[in-house]
């Protein structure tokens, strides 16, 4: 099949036509830059932190954020990457090698923080103790600690915006997960720019790849020759998200535009959800980080770990 804009061979078929490599790259970059502009994701004096893992999404968002800043004549000195080493043997150390190389090549300072330093245990060591006697997967511990570390250290390093590599697939999955589990409160925290509370404890999160399907992100990173190796988290197939992902991919293959439709519909009702989600943010009595209870979830998990999983489960 040929590109619908020129006689070159197509590399991808989109909902409204096929594109060659050159036109796809332009179209993809335009979509990301349009998201930056449409949702006013950046301000002139923002200090930007990219939450990075070394996978295709974080390398792509890092590269394109820098390109956007240069295009808009915004200084790029106030720009750094932050990675979390969860302590997943055979996995994270490999993606961090890719990330360090990429940051060096692109002149972006990189900070790495770890579960081991912060909570005294790697994820591999912690989750069997915390989840003992339950059917819970490591993903619950991983997600809570990861979000905690990213927010805490982005703020410590002076960031005013936290940029994540969440793509259209991630968002469509999260929307469905919240619907299936009736989590309307949590759904109000989604969207291309988050932060239901303008509280100083939370660094506002932005998602420039919000309208980019995962397949397009992989294709872009491959065409741009980013050195992304495929590394699979040993726990990835175990989560609830994985089942939703399979469901959505099957649907998308049969009915093109499904994921985009879910996200577009969600954006229509998001202002209402955000209104409902407005609530007081407390400060954790243990660590002073933001919490919706007296003690934050990260500290509750740490307490569970110290007590051998005998405390209240989250």
């Amino acid at each position: 099949m040929d590109c619908f804009k020129c006689p070159e061979k197509a590399v991808i078929t989109l909902q409204h036509g096929s594109l060659c490599a050159g036109h796809f790259i332009t179209c993809f970059e335009d979509k990301v830059f349009k998201t930056f502009r449409k949702y006013n994701l950046l301000r002139q004096n923002d200090r930007l932190c990219i939450a990075a893992s070394g996978g295709k999404d974080s390398l792509t968002v890092l590269y394109l954020t820098k390109k956007f800043l240069q295009q808009e004549n915004i200084p790029t000195e106030d720009f750094f990457a932050l990675a979390v080493d969860e302590g997943i043997a055979g996995y994270r150390e490999k993606t961090l090698v890719d990330l360090k190389k990429f940051c060096q090549e692109n002149n972006v300072p990189l900070h790495i923080v770890s579960n081991k330093e912060e909570f005294g245990s790697t994820l591999d060591e912690a989750y069997p103790k915390i989840n003992k006697g339950t059917s819970k997967k490591p993903c619950n511990v991983c997600g809570v600690w990861r979000r905690y570390l990213i927010n805490k250290h982005a703020r410590r390093l002076g960031a005013t915006k936290l940029i994540t590599g969440h793509n259209l697939d991630d968002e469509a999955q999260a929307i469905l997960m919240n619907i299936f589990k009736a989590n309307t409160q949590i759904a109000g925290r989604l969207g291309p720019i988050t932060g239901v509370n303008k509280d100083g404890l939370f660094v506002q999160r932005i998602k420039p790849l919000y309208f980019c399907p995962e397949k397009e992100v992989r294709l872009y990173s491959w065409l741009k020759k980013f050195q992304v190796q495929y590394h699979e988290c040993p726990y990835s197939a175990e989560g609830y998200r994985s089942a939703i992902q399979d469901l959505l991919n099957k649907f998308e293959q049969k009915y093109k535009g499904t994921k985009q439709g879910i996200v577009n519909s969600f954006l229509e009702i998001l202002p209402l959800l955000k209104e409902r989600a407005q609530g007081e943010i407390k400060s954790c009595q243990v660590c002073s980080e933001p919490a919706n209870k007296e003690v934050c979830n990260a500290c509750l998990l740490k307490q569970n770990l110290q007590n051998g999983g005998l405390n209240e489960h989250l």
């Binding site: 996978g55 065409l223 590394h231 726990y235 293959q253």
Partner: protein, 67 residues
């Protein structure tokens, strides 16, 4: 059709034989969704309607992140 396929996720190379002539036939044989993978031949990404040839060397790259 006979092909040699390198699967990124499994980190393995296999010789396969299947009925059909197009990329979509290969995806069906491998029970993969076009949403999950990129199909590459000689450093070129192929769309699902692309014709394949006997003895092509094909790479199947994973779209979905590993974690």
């Amino acid at each position: 059709m006979k092909l040699t396929v390198t699967l990124e996720r499994e980190n393995s190379t296999q010789n396969i034989e299947f009925k059909g002539t197009k990329v979509q036939d290969l995806l069906d044989f491998l029970k993969l969704s076009s949403e999950e993978v990129l199909i590459v031949r000689n450093s070129e990404v192929l769309t699902e309607d692309e014709m394949l040839s006997e003895d092509d060397l094909i790479e199947v790259l994973n779209v979905v992140s590993g974690g």
